[in-house]
């Protein structure tokens, strides 16, 4: 049955998305489905049944006139769309998530770089201390830059996705959609752990502050741990979003004006809030957060603390989105 669905969807993919065309598609599918079911009941094998249904289906020229789409059927496509195959799509997802991991790792090295020199302080003779500290600092920045350049050059191979109009077929869209849904809980988990790490660095630091007066551990290792936790947190956040973004990019490739742009699986890109009040609040949510952040920061100049608003706001946003949206 999936094969028939694919056949029909691909046949209709480039037609304009009008109610008439949608109706024709669903009517034709009904007939195909009925025929297929009765062939199976007669004892035909699945492949055989699919073959018969497709061979007796006819072609779109027949219905083109009555749907007012003969223009499109006879001169297919105004713009040539590059077709992204299923293998390419899966390859892109893997590569994109790989690269977002490397980017995250790069950001991690950037974040911990200022903390590294303090590890060597008071532990070594003075000249060595400066030399090693400096080396660690610049070393980790160099690693970060290398990682950024590497992942950017990898992603360059895929820049055609943004530069040229592309399309994916029904089966690919369907598979990607399912994979994205499956990935959702992993993504959320990574994201939450990431945000928690960004907040919870306060705990070990304040505990050690309270317990130990002044020692190598409290003065040198603890700041490191703080940077380490924030670094891992940010890395996880970047990584968690990368794969999801890849799915969203691919699912958004099809032209919205055609039937293909309206596959069930690509439709739910838009967020619709079920409650009007919530919808109104959410429409000004991010500007408000930005205002609060700036006002608080400029009034207190506690920039070190005020950024906490962002991860907290993101968590609230995803909670609201989860509880108050309906599938469009």
């Amino acid at each position: 049955m999936e094969a028939l669905r694919n056949y029909l969807e691909n046949m209709f993919a480039n037609l304009p998305n009008t109610p008439e065309v949608q109706r024709a598609k669903s009517e034709l599918f009904q007939m195909m489905e009925d025929k297929y079911t009765s062939l199976i009941e007669e004892g035909k094998k699945e492949n055989e049944a699919i073959g018969i249904v497709i061979s007796e289906f006819g072609n779109l020229n027949e219905i083109a006139d009555s749907l007012g789409i003969s223009n499109v059927v006879e001169h297919p496509q105004g713009i040539e769309r590059r077709h992204v195959s299923k293998e390419e799509a899966h390859h892109y997802v893997i590569e994109k998530s790989h690269c977002s991991f490397l980017t995250g790792l790069g950001v991690f090295f950037c974040i911990i770089s200022p903390a590294l020199p303090s590890l060597f302080e008071d532990a070594l003779p003075e000249q060595l201390e400066d030399a090693l500290g400096g080396a660690a600092f610049f070393g980790s920045i160099a690693i970060a830059v290398a990682l950024f350049i590497y992942s950017a050059s990898k992603m360059k191979n895929w820049s055609f996705l943004k530069r040229y109009p592309c399309s994916i077929d029904y089966q690919t869209a369907d598979e990607l959609y399912k994979a994205q849904k499956l990935n959702n809980s992993t993504k959320t988990l990574h994201f939450i752990i990431g945000v928690l790490l960004c907040i919870l660095w306060l705990i070990p630091v304040s505990i050690s502050d309270a317990l130990v007066e002044s020692s190598y551990l409290a003065d040198n290792v603890m700041p490191c741990i703080m940077f380490l936790m924030v670094g891992i947190g940010v890395m996880l956040i970047i990584f968690s979003l990368g794969k999801d973004k890849a799915y969203t990019t691919l699912l958004g490739l099809n032209d919205q004006k055609t039937v293909a742009g309206n596959y069930e699986s690509t439709k739910s890109r838009e967020v619709v809030y079920s409650n009007e009040t919530i919808a109104n609040i959410m429409s000004v949510y991010w500007p408000t957060v930005r205002c609060v952040y700036l006002i608080w920061s400029f009034l207190t100049f506690d920039w070190l603390i005020t950024w906490i608003i962002w991860p907290v706001a993101a968590v609230i946003h995803s909670l609201v989105k989860k509880n108050f949206t309906e599938v469009a």
């Binding site: 024709a24 009517e27 034709l28 009904q30 007939m31 195909m32 009925d34 025929k35 009765s38 007796e56 289906f57 006819g58 072609n59 779109l60 027949e62 219905i63 006139d65 009555s66 749907l67």
Partner: protein, 109 residues
């Protein structure tokens, strides 16, 4: 084996469908099944042909469509013939009788 010419039968698809609908309201696959059975497998209508006929005749007011839940619980589009459709069908029948009468005179037995 001689096959039916799709050019010739095209003008009579409407007549065939209207005849079946005049017996009872029906849906796509059932109609194509009945056509196949009544013609003893000599004529098989393609899905696209059938849908385009439905679409055209509905626009002309010969038939009406309505949704109905079938035995298996699925929603299906059913079609029924209208009065205009019935009159059109009778006209087509007369037309065919005339056509047949004329053509017959030129066919070697």
């Amino acid at each position: 084996m001689v096959e039916i010419s799709s050019d010739i039968i095209r003008g009579y698809n409407d007549t065939i469908i209207l005849f079946l609908l005049s017996e009872a309201p029906s849906y796509g696959y059932e109609i194509s099944k009945k056509i196949k059975a009544l013609s003893e497998d000599k004529y098989m209508i393609k899905e696209t042909t059938l849908y385009s006929a439905f679409n055209r005749m509905e626009k002309n007011g010969y038939i009406e469509s309505y949704a109905q839940v079938a035995e298996n619980g699925k929603k299906r589009t059913y079609y029924r013939i209208t009065e205009v459709g019935m009159r059109y069908y009778m006209e087509k029948c007369e037309e065919w009788k005339l056509t047949k009468d004329v053509i017959e005179r030129f066919i070697r037995k």
